[in-house]
Symmetry: C2
Subunit: 370 residues, 2 copies
Amino acid sequence: MVAPERRRRVTISDVAKHAGVSKAAVSKVIRNDYGVSQAMRDRVKRAIDELGYRPQAAARALRGRAFTIGVLMQHIGIPFYAEIVTGLVDELAESEYQAIMIQGGTRDKTEKRAIDALIDRQVDGILMIAPLAARTHLEQVAREIPTLVLGRHDRSPAYDSIVDDDRVGSELVMEHLIGLGHRRIGHITFDKEHGQAADRTPQIRAETYERVMREHDLAGEIAVATTSYTEEGGYDGARELLGRSPRPTAIFAGSDEAALGVLAALHEAGLSVPGDVSVAGYDNTKLAAHPNIALTTVNQDGVVMGRTAGRLLLERIEGRTSAAHFSVIPSLVVRRSTASPRPCPAGTETQMPARTVRDVTAADAVRRRG
Amino acid sequence: MVAPERRRRVTISDVAKHAGVSKAAVSKVIRNDYGVSQAMRDRVKRAIDELGYRPQAAARALRGRAFTIGVLMQHIGIPFYAEIVTGLVDELAESEYQAIMIQGGTRDKTEKRAIDALIDRQVDGILMIAPLAARTHLEQVAREIPTLVLGRHDRSPAYDSIVDDDRVGSELVMEHLIGLGHRRIGHITFDKEHGQAADRTPQIRAETYERVMREHDLAGEIAVATTSYTEEGGYDGARELLGRSPRPTAIFAGSDEAALGVLAALHEAGLSVPGDVSVAGYDNTKLAAHPNIALTTVNQDGVVMGRTAGRLLLERIEGRTSAAHFSVIPSLVVRRSTASPRPCPAGTETQMPARTVRDVTAADAVRRRG
DNA sequence: GGAAAAATGTGTACCGGTCTACGACATTAC
DNA sequence: GTAATGTCGTAGACCGGTACACATTTTTCC
């Protein structure tokens, strides 16, 4: 067997020669530039097809664009991030741009390396999902490359941003629980001491929890456990809240991850859900939807966020200079983990619709902000 | 406020000028090339630090390497893929290479576009996780760029490959169930009719199931439902198996996804797990580990696979031409979804350790194959 | 001490595109 | 008929690196 001789790739010069025109002409056709006759266009396009030519991104990047959008995320295994990427990829599908993902990890140092890697690869735009970096660093990056930050509440005129409206989401949960008749509602949050919190999300959720409690004259029932938004954090937080007397009849965990820990703690304590304690989360992760878990939670439409991100980035690349900030309205997903505090007649299970999603349309869900 | 004037990036020429040497010298230092004195090295390195220079990947790619490994996957939200990437990133951390991920989607066309995108971006190596493409196409890609295919059983001398040893994994499940005393064990598999199956994985699992049944003189009890490896497939398959009389006391679903569907179907039928029916899956997804699900399943060490993939790709890039094929030995994770078929005395729950993972060390888990 | 060998640094042609400047030609205006 | 304008195509510099060829030292060895 002959060694597989690596055949040289077809270049723009090959196409030019094959079509009997100049390199410049081919380039113009590829980029849909001005100053090409229809005849020329057809001719070049035929040559491109015949040779199976595809421009090399690296060469293009050197002078013009790389036609690449870089997406930075801590970890690729997070379902919500996957939704965002789905939306982004969807939006970019019609364009010539390609999305590439890079893992930044959970440490400042590794994230910086990842961001640098994207810049070094000349991406045309960067979508940062919940980055750890300091705001000044983000602004510095944005000065070099169109940047969109998703999931952080600290806006900047230097870059676009998209966030979930955590106020609305938290209100939805609280009004739901209170509407069911709960009064002793606990909350699990976290602060900087317990992990990397470059963002105010937990604060907003906790503040809203307290505000709604007060608005319903339940200030005396406020009970917050400050741990972290992880399964362990939820577990610890739940144990703390359950230790109080009287114990809460409902727990609003700041995140689904934490809510899973809460469920584990309740399971261990021999308490039933929602019979003894109702549980609600935030984020609508895939786990939350599973019938064996059936967690009431808040859904952020990641796909819409991703689509919007793609659109905004393309706009920026096309030259927009003013910053755009979007807030996406979440919706409540009621499942079987929440019910009225009074137990139902023995033997019958709470009859809540298993997967009622009060969805808003994409158009409603996104609203432009000042 | 002054418009943020985009400052020109520091280039190799800037460094050369600042250090008072030639471009070529700087390039040599960067690449650790032969023919540089220690004095020169120090001088250039200082200049690099002082200016904060980082080479531009696009420019490097044009002539030499891009220092980029491309990872193709259907979807970034799959936890097992995330593990692989973790291992890969870990392995690459010491090198100068960076991993970028790209979504291929679930259709041939979108996958092809993604692969082309990687090639156009001049990546130095491609890791394809369970690609859909035909073998000939993969070989064609491998002729251009060092390629490693993960999770497909069809080897080729053109590219390296890493697979889970599905025979061993399936044996582990079956021996476990039979060891518990089960005889009527059903299996859920899928075939090409029910989805994209470029690979023989389901076949191997199903064949092993049947073989082990026969080896234990249980040929008469063999019951296979052919649906798909999805939650819906598991649901449908379980309903089919449960319809038989007598119904199986255990179900070995070909994948965790399918197992989740099985659980849903059992739940709906009012059957308890593992009291009435034991359930085992394959893949050890994150869901399977959750206490509310606690599924007995087979764990493939994705991190080890990723690390191995990284090492093999770097070897290839360095010039290895012979193909390497690795098989990773999985391990059984026993959780609460499996127990002996005879119900325990009423009131006590089956006492199985919740999260016993019989782990093999990384060294044992990977073994080289002809 | 002198020749051969090794070590070190530089000049410069690339890589494959993009893009500006410019020339040739056609069309319209006066 | 000539000038002005517009359309179309090409030449060639350029992007920021790499790597080869070569000149110039320095070292090694008799």
